[in-house]
């Protein structure tokens, strides 16, 4: 049996240029071994400044209480929970790329999975801050954990979707971290073995856990990755399903809908891919990784964006239809008087434009492969997805059953906004550090697909398809032991 795999010539190469294994290592590890560029420093300091502002905003909230935010009756959930859902949604793309696309055998995931997974982890860390600080008395956050305590022991309510969320987010974070780091081990070992300075050799030696590339270890590593991918696939779907349960299991008009889980998951993938695009387009430019994150990768992600954007659009229309069809006056009022119209109507139409209408331009191949257009669109999509969560939360809350307590308008304070900006600072600070100190592309995985999908090797393989067909037919012929039963087509 031949060990050579071949791939159809129609598929475009995943790695451009004439690369050898050594070249791949050099291209990717290089950025770790040199001083960062000026652009990197500028970006890093801006992020760090945002992070500090965020830390001060949180300090005020913890010291003076939740009154530092403009939450009121009836809008008890405002920017903070909007931001929470937004960040969790963004945190879905990494695991989707690394797990679901691994199971679907999508070769293009190899170029982007490492950075996307890192992004996932940072985004989930940002997301977790919001419900924790929303508790007000944040030092009591551990009360959500079921540990034997002196209050009875009094246990948390396992029937509550908010507790399910605690389990879902923490599990998701842990599993993503393990998946990401176990994939990083071989690449950290590559950095270690190339290291010229003592400190780098020591630190990467510690970080790579003594990985040496043994065949048996690789075999186990493959098995581990596959099972973790299998576990993460339902996990990633469950996390946003459970986040949507926070709303859907309530009886608030506008939230009480069964469409929420699939609708939230599609939205999460949508916004997650948009954020991956934003980061990847900057990364490939700044780090010179155009050969590894190709236009083909960008196009593939844009296809996912247009698909999930359309699913989200269907969900919006379904919601409107169901509100009308339900004949429940409260549902109808929320959707038709207070959501698509009323003081918050502008946010609904902003969401519709950003999420449903503008991504439709990705049906054009030229635009899918246009870097600048993709970059702008990725930011538009993320603005749209933030407004989606804002619309869901605020427009369902600002007019409840008691008109006397209707709030005219909810405006966030500077500390509420500062908290959000702070998570941006945290996210980008982490991402800048990651891009400096870690291999941003999965080196081993690129090498694994290089000989089947690299540009230079693909060209060598013309004609292999015919040869392979012959040998395959020949083998079949042998197996059957029936002379003349298989018609062999010789060229």
């Amino acid at each position: 049996m031949s060990v050579t795999k071949y791939e159809s010539q129609i598929r475009e190469p995943l790695v451009n240029g004439d690369k050898t294994y050594g070249q791949v290592t050099k291209d990717i590890v290089h950025t770790i071994e040199v001083k960062p560029t000026r652009l990197w420093y500028i970006g890093f300091y801006i992020s760090a400044a945002l992070l500090l502002f965020g830390a001060y905003s949180v300090y005020r909230e913890v010291t003076y209480g939740i009154g530092q935010w403009n939450l009121n009756r009836t809008i008890g959930w405002g920017w903070d929970i909007t931001n929470f859902v937004w960040w969790v949604g963004i945190g879905h793309a990494g695991t989707l790329i690394s797990a679901i696309l691994l199971l679907f055998r999508q070769g293009w995931r190899t170029g982007v999975n490492r950075a996307a997974e890192a992004m996932t982890i940072f985004a989930v860390m940002c997301a977790g801050q919001f419900p924790i600080f929303h508790m007000g008395r944040v030092w009591m956050a551990f009360f959500t954990l079921p540990y034997p305590n002196t209050r009875g022991p009094l246990w948390p309510n396992f029937n509550s979707p908010l507790l399910w969320d605690v389990f879902a987010i923490s599990t998701y974070f842990t599993v993503s971290l393990l998946f990401w780091y176990s994939g990083l081990l071989p690449d950290l070992a590559t950095v270690r073995d190339r290291a010229k300075t003592k400190l780098r050799k020591h630190l990467y030696g510690v970080a790579s856990f003594g990985w040496n590339g043994s065949t048996k270890h690789w075999q186990r590593h493959e098995s581990l990755s596959l099972v973790l991918a299998g576990l993460s696939t339902p996990l990633v779907l469950s996390v946003h399903t459970i986040v949507s349960f926070d709303f859907a299991t309530s009886i608030v008009p506008g939230w009480h809908t069964t469409i929420f889980p699939p609708y939230f998951v599609a939205g999460a993938i949508f916004s997650g891919f948009a954020m991956v695009q934003t980061l990847m387009l900057i990364l490939r430019k700044v780090m010179g990784l155009e050969d590894y994150i190709t236009l083909g990768h960008i196009e593939a992600m844009n296809k996912v964006i247009v698909l999930t954007g359309s699913i989200v659009g269907c969900a919006y229309l379904t919601e409107l239809f169901m509100a009308w069809y339900s004949m429940v006056p409260f549902e109808q009022d929320i959707f038709f008087k207070y959501r698509i119209a009323g003081p918050y109507g502008w946010s609904y139409w902003l969401m519709m434009t950003c999420n449903v209408i503008s991504p439709q331009l990705f049906w054009f191949r030229k635009l899918r492969r246009n870097v600048l257009f993709t970059f702008v669109m990725s930011i538009i999509v993320n603005i749209g997805m933030w407004f989606e969560r804002f619309v869901i939360i605020v427009s369902s809350l600002y007019r409840d059953y008691l008109p006397s307590s209707w709030s005219i308008y909810y405006r966030p304070t500077i500390w509420e906004i500062g908290f959000y900006l702070g998570t941006f600072g945290f996210f980008f600070t982490c991402f800048f550090l990651f891009s400096k100190y870690f291999p941003v592309i999965a080196i081993a995985e690129i090498k694994y697909v290089l000989k089947t999908t690299g540009e230079s090797f693909k060209n060598d393989m013309s004609g292999l398809e015919e040869k392979e067909l012959d040998s395959f037919v020949h083998e079949m012929h042998h197996d059957h032991h029936e002379e003349g039963s298989v018609k062999v087509a010789h060229h």
């Binding site: 396992f158 073995d193 690789w218």
Partner: protein, 194 residues
């Protein structure tokens, strides 16, 4: 753990590596290991390694997670502190599915990763002998163990013939030890040759 003598052959292409592996197996020499920069599919089978059962361990860990979650929530809500939540049954299995699922995944994943690290001897500060620094870069490094009756020269000749780019002999510790990669350690007081 002891010092052993190894013949090391480095290959640049997996197309050369596979016939070489077959050749070594036919002559009956013992592989210590083959170090590769990326997972080479089929190499484990070619070397005659058995399939890993790590996934079975993962399944068992998952099972532990499921039972822990279900039994714990059942005990809390039916025995330890039964709460009346809207008159609903204490044993509210459908409402516990999310947490049960999450705990299953968590236990399976954490258990598998820890097991993986344990059986591959991977941990911070663990150090192993590096046969060739490019084994994590672009070389496939085949390491053959020399027993008492193995002729070193014969093995070398075999590897050269099979197409190895670089062949040498190394005396090295076969196991792992606690150490730093930027320092050479004195593992034995007296130099002993296997």
């Amino acid at each position: 753990m002891a010092l052993k003598k190894f013949v090391v052959g480095c290959f640049e292409d997996e197309k050369v590596l596979f016939p070489a592996v077959e050749k070594v197996r036919k002559t009956g020499y013992k592989f210590h290991d083959i170090y590769t920069p990326f997972p080479v599919h089929g190499l484990d089978k070619a070397m005659g390694l058995r399939e890993t059962s790590l996934h079975t361990a993962g399944f068992l860990y998952g099972l532990i997670g499921t039972t822990t979650a279900v039994t714990f929530m059942t005990w809390v809500f039916t025995k330890d502190w039964p709460m009346n939540i809207g008159g609903k049954p204490h044993f509210a299995l459908p409402a516990w599915i999310p947490i049960t699922f999450e705990l299953t995944v968590l236990c399976a994943a954490v258990g598998m990763v820890l097991t993986f690290c344990y059986i591959c001897q991977l941990a911070p500060f663990v150090k192993k002998h590096t046969f060739h620094p490019r084994a994590t870069d672009d070389l496939f490094v085949m390491v053959i163990e020399c027993g008492e009756h193995t002729s070193e020269d014969e093995v070398k000749a075999l590897l050269n013939e099979a197409g190895a780019q670089e062949v040498n002999t190394q005396v090295a510790e076969e196991g792992w030890w606690i150490g730093r990669y930027d320092q050479e350690q004195e593992l034995y007081k007296e130099p002993n040759i296997a």
